[in-house]
Symmetry: D2
Subunit: 278 residues, 4 copies
């Protein structure tokens, strides 16, 4: 299990975003409050969008909390869109290619949760990946295979449908392996313009997910909070767990839901798996 954060808005300094919060993601790497594991020390990753055609990704197998290069990078980088993730391995190797976010072209993907029975189902899931995409799977995690299933089902064209069908494939394959509740997930993906996040588990008991409240409303409520004044009106965060205790700042995303962040607009919808046409 893992912890993650997705930011969009005016360009933000990554140190401000990932370190200078009461319960920042770097704090969560050592002491998560709501995670399945308190320690998320099996590597980390940051993806950030700049001028180039694809986002940058910096990933390491070391714990985030004492990694100097991460701190240096964050202190000197600004970005209008950041994905960040701290990992607690559920068994697969601790290596950079297993760290999130994963990247495909302009797309990033990160996942908290796991696919129960993944080892047994791995070949069937890999076979369901589009043949021309298959060779680009670099690591060995359930999370990356899930990403490639979503790409196969058209993530780049219609993310909600692609996600629903990717989960549908996982659940269908699981049934043939006798796994009752395979999927446990909160997942976030972006093309650099819009963020989609999903909360779902086959069992109906998914991991926590929150989005931030409207910044202008919060500023009225807390006129003296300096962090709120640095944020643009359209700044939004989607997170595994709140970054602080500011009352009213965080809204829980319900189980079996998706949340779409376009500029400052947040749209919640129900989410359900869908069996793709075979």
């Amino acid at each position: 299990m893992c912890r993650w954060l997705a930011y969009s808005g005016s360009p933000v300094n990554l140190e401000e975003l990932l370190y200078n919060q009461q319960n920042s993601l770097v704090v969560q790497s050592r002491h998560s409050r709501l995670g399945a594991e308190t320690t998320n020390g099996d590597g980390f990753g940051v993806g950030w969008y700049g001028d180039g055609p694809t986002p940058g990704i910096f990933r390491s197998t070391e714990p985030a909390w004492n990694n100097r290069n991460l701190h240096e990078l964050c202190a000197h980088a600004h970005s209008r869109r950041v994905f960040a993730h701290v990992r607690a391995s559920t068994g697969t190797a601790v290596q950079e290619t297993n760290c999130h976010p994963f990247r495909h072209g302009r797309w990033l993907w990160m996942h908290n949760g796991s696919i129960t029975g993944f080892h047994e189902m791995k070949r069937d899931l890999a076979l369901a990946v589009r043949p021309d995409l298959y060779p680009d799977i670099e690591g060995s995690t359930d999370s990356e295979h899930f990403f490639f299933l979503a790409l196969t089902q058209g993530l780049e064209d219609d993310p909600p449908t692609a996600l629903a069908e990717a989960v549908g494939i996982v659940e269908r394959v699981a049934r043939t392996h006798g796994v009752e509740f395979p999927m446990q997930m909160t997942v976030a993906t972006t093309d650099g313009e819009t963020t989609w996040a999903f909360r779902y588990s086959s069992e109906g008991r998914s991991r926590s997910l929150f989005h931030s409240a409207d910044v202008s409303t919060l500023r009225e409520q807390y006129p003296d909070n300096p962090q709120l004044h640095q944020l643009s009106d359209d700044a939004r965060l989607v997170v595994s767990e709140p970054l602080g205790d500011l009352r009213g700042a965080w809204r829980e995303v319900p189980d079996a839901s998706s949340v779409v962040v376009r500029g400052g607009h947040i749209e919640l919808s129900p989410f359900a798996p869908k069996d793709p046409p075979q």
Copy 2:
């Protein structure tokens, strides 16, 4: 702060020693029960004695819990004397030369605790190290400097006196820097034949330390425990915290004490710092 273990006895498999215990040192790297920090994920080290003139040391900056090379090494190595340590950095860099145990010739050294005000006192402590030993300090920790102070004071000839004087130097230097309670320590050292361990803090509130009880007595008490039957009569452990819940298996070493392990004999003595002749 850190967690450590010192074993002596008949040759033991390192996997048995470091992994196959209810509250093994590898478990403690992620979830310590009694440590100042629950997570000891800033590297680890193992020192073990074999046929060679000096013990081997294997150290890494990665957390112990998911390190495959540590598990491989342990699965295939046996030793009659093992020092093992999992680290929680108190600020110095996460690098192999800062991981315990430290080695000098046949001697190993490992430390849980810290020297308060070390950064300010570092030069004065380094100057107190014997000039011919100074260039062998490789890392930047308080713990390694403390080792070299003990070597300077004659660790190889009379460990208890060398320790008392090394702590005396630290406390004397601390006074000139206005630091009231500089030393917090449990420390273990060995020449490959005898283990000396010390529990002390300037403030009188030192970290926990335990030694194992007599194996033959435990075997009578627990005739059905298979692990006890693999151990030789003279097998002894000194540890930061018990490796399991077996009642009667662990005896706490009192504050301000030293414990000497020679074969199966355990000797407790009071420990107090001593101002060395200037």
Copy 3:
């Protein structure tokens, strides 16, 4: 491209084997004489047999030449059978799961060379792996997929046939992808009792391979060479390139050949790929 060494004989100290030679494998990691690349700095691995049911493997992404843990491990370990490998990546990620030797049960496998067009052929090769073995592929290299093809074709029962068929599969798949000369290889594998090594390339221009000469003959020839006197009569090495300049000590294995080492017996045979029954 890479460099490797396979030792069998009386228990040898790994430092003696991997460091204390004029052109040792650790020297070759920085300055190979005969390799396709002079630098083999993209990680290394050592596999060694001891008492346990499976061999140990120690692998790292760092260059071998300055890796302290490798030197420590080697200084303190002895083994009657050692596989060691230094890697020059041909494009796949530098990560431990891509370092050789690979292990399956009691078997080890290491490879110098590459499969041309691997990225495009990866899915087809993966599909040719036995479904129950597929999930155990951990890395992303051509070398590991080749190992799993050989396992699929019965490596554990009949290594020469399994190798011939595995190469046959690679060449058959290559034809469907328009790759003329896919296979470039010297490869070694062992079950802990016998070593099989193979030299072959589709193009007929394979990388160098040597085996050591009879130890007792060499001792007669060089009565004053101390290293020869430490070796048992049945000690044998198979290597990518000679470890020194001792005249008569090394015999080249011809292209399109296999060499089998059983105790002190060395048997050379022709090697040719074989199309397996579909």
Copy 4:
């Protein structure tokens, strides 16, 4: 020995600077043409100036040539002033705190060469460092100690004099240890506005050093070279060895010289050590 590069001018993309050159620094990490070692694979470092009060530094113990994080960082970062270094250890540990560039406040420092007899002279050199600076020495290299000697002698106020005196101290200490020719160096340092570089060896046989020629002159000479058109008129490089074969693009800095780069102005002066007042 090592290889390094110092850039100043209009903001440049780091990938363009460190990768996209015929004989780029990343190429030199594996195949240096003029270095004492062809392989500079014992870590690397990049320092770059942005908006913040201090430059960022990204350092790693892995070889530069296959490090994905370095490539990602470079692809997404721009800077008007960059120091970059690839390391070949002369014996000290391969760890991040031994990688160049070193940083102190706004200053960066990197060094190619070594101090002969450093191990023996280490304590005397450390004692010559200003006591309040001493605790900030984090690693164990001759290069970092040299930096701290220069800081002690007033690097931040008068770099040429500080360098001359720092070398004077090294040579004075060397005489007391019977080392005839201790210093071998090309070194670069900057405060973010000006770059100073020095080429000197006690023996009079120092490592190569070059600076780039005037950009506008080169553009007239090579009107069709696209790289030259991306550079601003005041862009200047100081390098261990030329990044390409463009005739006229590189001027060697003579032995026993310093070069100061202020905007597009380059000033060469003789350099000689100076015994500081004791």
